[in-house]
């Protein structure tokens, strides 16, 4: 067992963890922060993405014991005082959510992307979210949500009616 102290969404937690515990399971099971999802447990799908000391990581590939003294941001910290973040709001407005299982990881990845690149091009958004699988949306409405938040969404054609 290892004793660790971490700061998650601005709140400090001290816990004893077994050495083999992943950050993902630490968050979900020890802190009951179940917003972060497990899609593969092997660092391949991105569903478990959180921001660790300012960098987006697959929390299934990090050991909780390694994170002592770290600052962690998860999906639970995004909406503040009952108000969605601008990115969450854009996802809501653009139907960038379907089943919702990849959504928390996707939001955290984009948060990290926008910190590094406040106005990413469409291609940069695609590169940024490439590690996050979404089986439902086909990504287009997610990309549009990011373009909208960064003030780059031109006149959107959307669904076109033909006769």
């Amino acid at each position: 067992m290892v004793r660790i102290t971490v700061r998650v969404n601005g709140k400090e937690y001290t816990r004893e963890v077994v050495e083999s515990r992943t950050l993902l399971h630490f968050l979900r099971e020890d802190l009951s922060l179940t917003g972060t999802k497990e899609g593969c447990g092997a660092g391949e799908c991105g569903a478990c993405t959180v921001i660790l000391d300012g960098q987006a990581v697959n929390s299934c590939l990090i050991l909780a014991a390694e994170t002592d003294g770290s600052t962690i941001e998860t999906i639970e910290g995004e909406a503040k005082n009952g108000k969605l973040s601008r990115m969450q709001e854009a996802f809501h407005n653009h139907h960038a959510v379907q089943c919702g299982f990849c959504t928390p990881g996707m939001i955290m990845t984009i948060k990290d992307l926008l910190r590094r690149k406040p106005k990413p091009s469409r291609d940069e958004i695609i590169d940024g979210i490439e590690g996050n699988f979404c089986r439902c949306t086909g990504y287009e409405q997610i990309i549009e949500a990011v373009l909208d938040v960064t003030g780059q969404l031109g006149k959107k054609e959307g669904l076109r009616h033909v006769r």
Binding site: I129, G138, V162
Partner: protein, 827 residues
């Protein structure tokens, strides 16, 4: 007694008034009703749930495709502290099956596929359960497996199920052949096929294949079950179809339905893979053995590939006779569906594919033999498109090859043979004006990709890149595959503040139907959308019946039940208001807040006042809670004749088309997808963003099938690629450079506000569009999907294709991320 607005309508038919006129909420952009919970991480999926005293399950799986189980030694596992229950097949005598009751909960005596469950453990922690599973020793006698369906139908093939003749099955729909590996033979006979071929000037026969594919819901299968005293069973599951799960569970264990409760909260994607019954019975038996403690099983991603079902592989042979002016005279279609070790949904995939096997074309003389064949591989189940993604790869490639053979443009060939009013389908159904319009879809896709020519920009792009640009347009159709008696119910409860809560058990698995249902209910009640809540969690103890959440039938069937429930709620409100206002219901009307007298609107009573019963000023009260009930059942469908396949299987047909632009490097086989334009005749758009989400999401899932996904086995039947590293799915980089979504609205007469389903259709025929465009660009004649770069290269060099993915030397990969994004889209 109907509200006046319904009695005085001009159109005929129950929902006649709903088909015309201005709508307030229907067709308007509005966010999803479930996205905030999902965006904040507050939505609770079964994988997030835990209960006091909960145990964790792990499964011991077969390393062999086919073997006799000689002995299972669990003694070491039993001695491990923290182990609470161990199960092997010997002590479980229950068989389950949706259409064919052919599967034991744990393998008994024999394993039939790699990854099959042979033993299970429930323990205090997952780690202990995993350790216990490792300590279970299973002794096998390996047997030679049969892996390819064409091998499995040879006379000397080993039988996967020698007991096939003894199994219970749904005999109105399926025809197993005992003593063989064929667990269903669907036949369809229309016209005179032999004479048709004699009359044909051209005959072309080809065979098209595709491997098994994994659904990949981002949430793997997960269930928590607690089996208490007196057989009180509660199941929390990531299932798509709570009532079918309950029914099959009760049948397997011979339990009364009142004892079993299935609860489905948020579900992280399904795509058909969570439609039937899968891990729940095993988890239930572990709970029973552990004294009723709740037991949780969460499949790993690897288990998702082989313990749980996949999409069936298909070998599809098509022989077409045409006149030289391009009219199809006759077509013989033979499908060999690879069921894997169990029948599950594959028999019904076979049936549904059989009756629409020709695509949206009129074939006056047709002959279909569709076989579902057992092999020693993980078993096939429903997957978005229900067989159509697989056989449309064949039929829409074939349409191009036939057109080429007779020297006709393939789009002209399609238009000439497309179903239109007056056409008769394979099963003898006559197409009407209101069925939908495949020609309009084809023309819209044609225009969107500039079919048949290259623009100046495209020519310039070819010169710059050295690649060849190809274009293609394909058509598609699909009807829901479901029993003729498919039914559903909706209950609407008026709350004290005149908001309305809807109880129903169609599940929301991401497809967006709850948002559309809320819009339908709001529109019909004339209430603002925000006053409608669709209860998210479904519960078989509390919600009305729904057959299953499958087949793109939810919007039409549950939508109609919701309309009937809304109508019932209004009728009851009017009845109550008529007593309060001392007026006949025919003299009443309502707005969003109140019921009032038509010619004296001052005389009114609010929905708030009536919601849970109306109290007069002196305290005397009438009414009671306002509850609207709607039940709906598919109308007019029939079983199909077993010898001829004739009958009425289709609730509705959704037609569509995809246009595609591709550029191909003739020397390396590499290609980039520049544009996909998709169009569907949805009848009526309820929510434009939701339709677009289905259109693009399904299209990319279809591209996954087209460009890279598929199970690869070795010669002994081991699955070689059960992970995202070796079995890739599309990422954002695989999105075509440009995507366009279009709709045609030919109202469905019995659809809510004219709507029909579009959940599956976007995935269908995408692969064929890609294959046709690649051939148009560079001449590669592909008959196997997925189409990897090396497949194009091999085809161009006329080297042998790898067509069945049972390989001695696995190779090939999905190359995500072409470099095209550095170039700008073509104009």
């Amino acid at each position: 007694m109907l509200p006046v607005n319904l009695e005085k309508r001009k159109d005929s038919g129950m929902f006649g008034d709903l088909r015309s006129g201005e709508t307030r909420v229907i067709g308007k952009r509005t966010p999803r009703v479930d996205s905030i919970a999902k965006l904040t991480g507050e939505a609770i999926f079964v994988s997030d749930m835990a209960f006091a005293g909960m145990l964790f399950a792990q499964v011991k799986k077969s390393p062999h495709a086919r073997a006799r189980i000689l002995r299972i030694d669990t003694r070491k596992a039993e001695a491990l502290p923290g182990v609470r229950a161990i199960l092997t097949g010997d002590e479980l005598d229950y068989r389950v099956g949706l259409y064919m009751v052919d599967k034991y909960i744990l393998a008994k005596g024999e394993v039939r596929h790699y990854g099959e469950a042979v033993a299970a453990v429930a323990a205090d922690t997952t780690a202990i359960a995993r350790q216990a599973v490792d300590l279970i020793h299973v002794e096998y006698e390996k047997l030679p497996p049969v892996l390819h369906p064409l091998d499995a139908i040879r006379e000397d093939a080993p039988l996967v199920h020698p007991q096939l003749g003894n199994y219970d099955y749904i005999d109105t729909a399926f025809s197993p052949i005992p003593g063989t590996n064929i667990c269903n033979h669907t036949k369809l006979r229309k016209g005179d096929i032999e004479t048709a071929f004699k009359r044909s000037e051209w005959i072309l026969e080809r065979e098209y294949t595709n491997p098994s594919v994994q659904h990949v819901p981002m949430e793997t299968h997960v269930a928590i079950v607690s089996w208490k005293h007196d057989d009180q069973v509660t199941i929390w599951s990531s299932a798509q179809s709570p009532f079918t799960l309950r029914n099959l569970f009760c049948m397997a264990f011979k339990l009364s339905h009142r004892k079993v409760r299935v609860i489905v909260p948020y579900v992280g994607g399904g795509f058909g893979g969570k439609a039937g019954i899968h891990i729940e019975p095993l988890v239930a038996c572990l709970s029973r053995k552990a004294g009723g403690r709740p037991v949780k099983f969460t499949a790993t991603r690897e288990e998702e590939f082989s313990l749980l079902p996949c999409r069936s592989a298909l070998t599809y042979r098509v022989k077409t006779g045409v006149s030289s002016d391009g009219k199809i005279i006759g077509q013989k279609m033979t499908m060999y569906w690879d069921s894997g070790a169990y029948a599950d949904y594959a028999v019904n995939v076979t049936r549904a594919s059989g009756y629409s096997a020709a695509g949206p074309y009129e074939i006056p003389n047709s002959w279909v033999d569709a076989y579902t064949i057992y092999t020693n591989k993980p078993f096939g189940t429903a997957y978005r498109g229900f067989g159509h993604v697989e056989f449309f790869w064949g039929i829409e490639r074939h349409m191009d090859l036939v057109a080429h053979a007779i020297g006709m443009d393939s789009l002209d060939f399609r238009k000439k043979n497309a179903l239109r009013p007056g056409s008769v389908t394979l099963t003898g159904e006559k197409i009407e004006e209101h069925t939908g319009n495949v020609l309009t879809c084809l023309k819209a896709a044609e225009k969107a990709v500039g079919y048949g020519r290259l623009t100046a920009g495209e020519k310039k792009r070819e010169q710059r890149s050295g690649m060849k640009i190809g274009k293609a347009v394909v058509a598609l159709h699909k009807a829901p595959a479901m029993p003729p008696f498919t039914a559903t119910g909706v209950i609407l409860k008026m709350n004290e503040d005149a908001t309305v809560t809807a109880n129903l058990s169609l599940t929301e698995i991401g497809q967006g139907t709850y948002t559309a249902l809320a819009q339908i209910i709001a529109e019909h009640l004339r209430f603002p959308l925000h006053r409608i809540k669709i209860s998210q969690e479904t519960d078989t103890d509390r919600d009305p019946y729904d057959w299953q959440t499958v087949a793109s039938k939810g919007l039409l069937l549950t939508g109609n039940a919701a309309l009937l429930a809304a109508q019932d709620l209004l009728r009851k409100s009017y009845e109550l208001a008529s007593q309060i206002l001392r007026a006949q219901p025919v003299d009443l009307d309502h707005d969003k807040d109140k019921v009032f007298i038509l010619h004296n609107p001052e005389a009114s009573v609010t929905f708030r006042e009536m919601a849970v019963g109306y109290a007069f000023p002196d305290g005397r009260s009438i009414g009671g809670p306002l509850i609207g009930i709607g039940s709906y059942i598919a109308q007019g469908l029939t079983h199909l004749d077993k010898e001829t396949g004739q009958g009425l299987p289709a609730l509705d047909w959704t037609y569509g088309a995809h246009g595609i632009i591709v550029e191909v490097d003739e020397h390396t086989g590499e290609y980039n997808i520049l544009k996909v334009a998709s169009v569907f005749d949805v009848g009526k758009v309820i929510n434009p963003d939701a339709v677009r989400g289905q259109a693009i999401g399904g299209m990319l899932q279809g591209l996954g099938t087209a460009i890279c996904e598929g199970y690869i086995y070795d010669q002994e039947g081991h699955l070689l690629n059960p992970s995202f590293t070796d079995n890739k799915i599309p990422t954002a980089r695989d999105l075509p450079l440009e995507v366009e979504s279009m709709v045609v609205e030919t109202p469905q007469l019995d659809g809510p506000y004219g709507a029909r389903g579009v959940g599956e259709h976007s995935m269908i025929a995408v692969a064929a569009a890609l294959g046709n465009a690649i051939q148009q660009a560079c001449g590669a004649e592909l008959t196997h999907m997925p189409i990897r770069f090396e497949d194009v290269w091999r085809s161009l060099g006329k080297k042998e294709p790898i067509d069945n993915w049972i390989t001695k030397s696995p190779f090939g990969s999905c190359k995500s991320a072409p470099e095209i994004r550095k170039n700008r889209p073509v104009q």
